[in-house]
Symmetry: C2
Subunit: 170 residues, 2 copies
């Protein structure tokens, strides 16, 4: 059994999703989106995001965390804003002694939908199907975070198979 938490950092909402894998079966444990809030000092908004992420980690005890790599086509101002959120998210994982893996948006979409150009709606539909959810996750950010967690589980499973003697065809 392995439990992974995916984090989808954003300047408005930060999604989180905890997924458990037992054998080949995947189960949704928790998910949601943390609002950065529109008012209040930046430092206080970051404290709120950090606090909620720490609470989720402590309540749902994932053993690994997966986070999305940043897409550099954003401008410097957006990258800085996103960096603030990502910094406190990475801090929350390290303070809780959890290893973090990073995946590009392309890898996440490929792992979940089978191809890297899937749109938000397709990601949401596949997350629902893979986790056997009757309803869509609370928000796109929560769905993205669940997709990142699933991507990590798929990637770890592949690496595990390769380590345990699987051959790679060239």
């Amino acid at each position: 059994m392995i439990r992974v938490m995916g984090i989808d950092c954003g300047t408005e909402f930060t999604g989180f999703g905890v997924v458990e894998q037992n054998g080949k079966s995947l189960r949704h444990v928790a998910s949601g989106a943390i609002s950065a809030g529109e008012s209040g000092a930046l430092a206080d908004r970051l404290t709120h995001i950090h606090l909620v992420l720490c609470q989720v980690i402590q309540e749902h005890t994932p053993s690994h965390v997966a986070i999305e790599e940043v897409f550099y086509s954003v401008n410097a101002k957006s990258a800085l804003k996103l960096g603030h959120v990502r910094g406190v998210a990475l801090l929350a994982t390290s303070q809780n002694k959890l290893p973090v893996a990073e995946y590009s948006p392309l890898s996440v979409k490929s792992a979940v939908c089978g191809y890297g150009r899937a749109d938000k709606n397709q990601v949401q539909q596949m997350v629902m199907r893979l986790l056997k959810l009757e309803e869509a996750p609370e928000s796109e950010d929560a769905a993205d975070a669940l997709a990142i967690a699933i991507c990590h589980l798929h990637t770890s499973a592949t690496l595990q198979r390769q380590k345990s003697g699987g051959t790679i065809k060239k």
Copy 2:
């Protein structure tokens, strides 16, 4: 008496400097630079920076924090890296219930040297003179952080004079 901590966030080194003002006299309390380290996971490096900043705050008990605004001419990749560090620095201040003020590099140089185009060496010399230091601070980052703290003290003093009945000439 007022004690201000300046923080100069950087991707390689993060400078800090605590300055105390008593009447018109300024005193150097503490300063230094925290290395982000070249090896190790990003999350662990951020945890180290956050931990040292929290220790400095708890040991030297500033009542206010001042931090430099980011200069947007940097590219998105650098802005993201700087954002990570800035996020954990802002978190450290908010977790310790300290108000944070932000100043542009131009304001800091103007406040300390009298003009906004001063170079690093001029900032260091003026910081030494204003704080009556016999030796230069440990590093340029520490000197910059002390300059940010001095900028905040000068700005607060000006605002205070204006509030207490000073007139602004047009």
